[in-house]
Symmetry: C2
Subunit: 284 residues, 2 copies
Amino acid sequence: MSANVWSTEPTELLRVGDGFRLADVDPASTPGYTGGKKQGERDLAAAEGRFDELQERLFAQSRANPRSPSLLLVLQAMDSAGKGGIVRHVIGATDPQGVHLKAFKKPTEEELAHDFLWRIEKEVPAAGYIGVFDRSHYEDVLIGKVRELASPDEIERRYDAINAFETHLDISGVHVVKVMLHISPDEQKSRLMERLDRPDKHWKYNPGDVDERKLWPDYMAAYQTVFERTSSEVAPWHVVPADRKWYARLAVQQLVIDALERIDPQWPAASFDVAAERARLAAT
Amino acid sequence: MSANVWSTEPTELLRVGDGFRLADVDPASTPGYTGGKKQGERDLAAAEGRFDELQERLFAQSRANPRSPSLLLVLQAMDSAGKGGIVRHVIGATDPQGVHLKAFKKPTEEELAHDFLWRIEKEVPAAGYIGVFDRSHYEDVLIGKVRELASPDEIERRYDAINAFETHLDISGVHVVKVMLHISPDEQKSRLMERLDRPDKHWKYNPGDVDERKLWPDYMAAYQTVFERTSSEVAPWHVVPADRKWYARLAVQQLVIDALERIDPQWPAASFDVAAERARLAAT
């Protein structure tokens, strides 16, 4: 159903490949999509049925086989870029019973006493689930690098550790879709200002966001390095222009649908004798 | 908005009080609601905005105060009564980031080595969250009693333990809404038969469901005892007729909205100087 509106599949178009430069991406652009906002909202709603069926198949398949695949969507972004909206409006369209959601905050003392992947591994989705990480192990090479929370050697080690971890996920049937929502500093400013202007949005405002905002070029450089070091064959990065919320949602929905279609989950065969069960039930 | 269609609030009408007899409830009835299926579906959709705003306020309030309230919806029912549909179509209408969902399965060896409430306590929703238990500690006095998985003395002890536990929840700010979805044996038969008739539903069929079905009167007696022993002032039971899925969803939605309205969550005041932050942001 996406063939009509997408001139090129977002999976191809937004993927970080060789020679990618974050600075070349316009956060206000809508690559591959020819429609406007209204059309985009209609297309988002129109694809929900397809997403939902794929999710149910993925889940159903795992009931018969605990070694069957799962999906993991990793969301990274500067503050206010719209991670929450993706969870709400894209992932929220399917059955919450098949979704495993985890928002990673500042690590606790206990978490800091372990390797940075320790808390991540515990949240890897089980067979049949769609996992969503709102922030992730990438924080440890983003804020971790920008704020010098770890030594340069440790940061270097982490890129390799991440690649090994994600290869392990791939081998164990966890399909990883990595997304950076890319907004412009101006768009962030207006979104943060709106949080200050509306009393019902004050709770979403964090003074620390302005401090991080001042380090924008450092964060962009850290993202660029993340892409160069960790956009792999098994777990490529996708950079989604996110100044237009409707476009970002539509693009991430397509990335998720595309990943599910590649998994191609099937309704499992009955593990019981259907005719015998029908007779047994009829007799009650 | 519910005042127009509900002749009596479901919270009052469906609550288990003194002298309640489960045998007197018609699973095909639609108590308190004067509309039909189409109207019911429209009313469900119409109330989603109200539910959503209350959920967001509940969550927002807790960001400023970790001692603020949460809500816990406990769902119990015979197989195929529609617990999953409640989660999907009622709870699924709000932000999944504010929902903590837990489906309790057959206890593991580790869980069995602890008191029956051990695994339950770990899943109590944090401040600001809406928790949903798909099955719960009540399994331990339902299948636990019917299948004699524990001694009569232990079952007796559990009713008291549950009441003490739920009093503790109430004192600590967890508002408990307990719901039994009540279907008829005939309706269950037709729902299970449909799962056998459709290959895309086979995965939902479990031969064990027919075994439990044969013990229907024992289960109804166990539910009756549960209501008599554990429908308390702080955590009353509600029995929702569930042969009509649309009615059950509408009624549970109203129970949840009503509980949230009694909590009456408020947008928290800013914990920072709004004018100063506006100036600081503007300067970036």
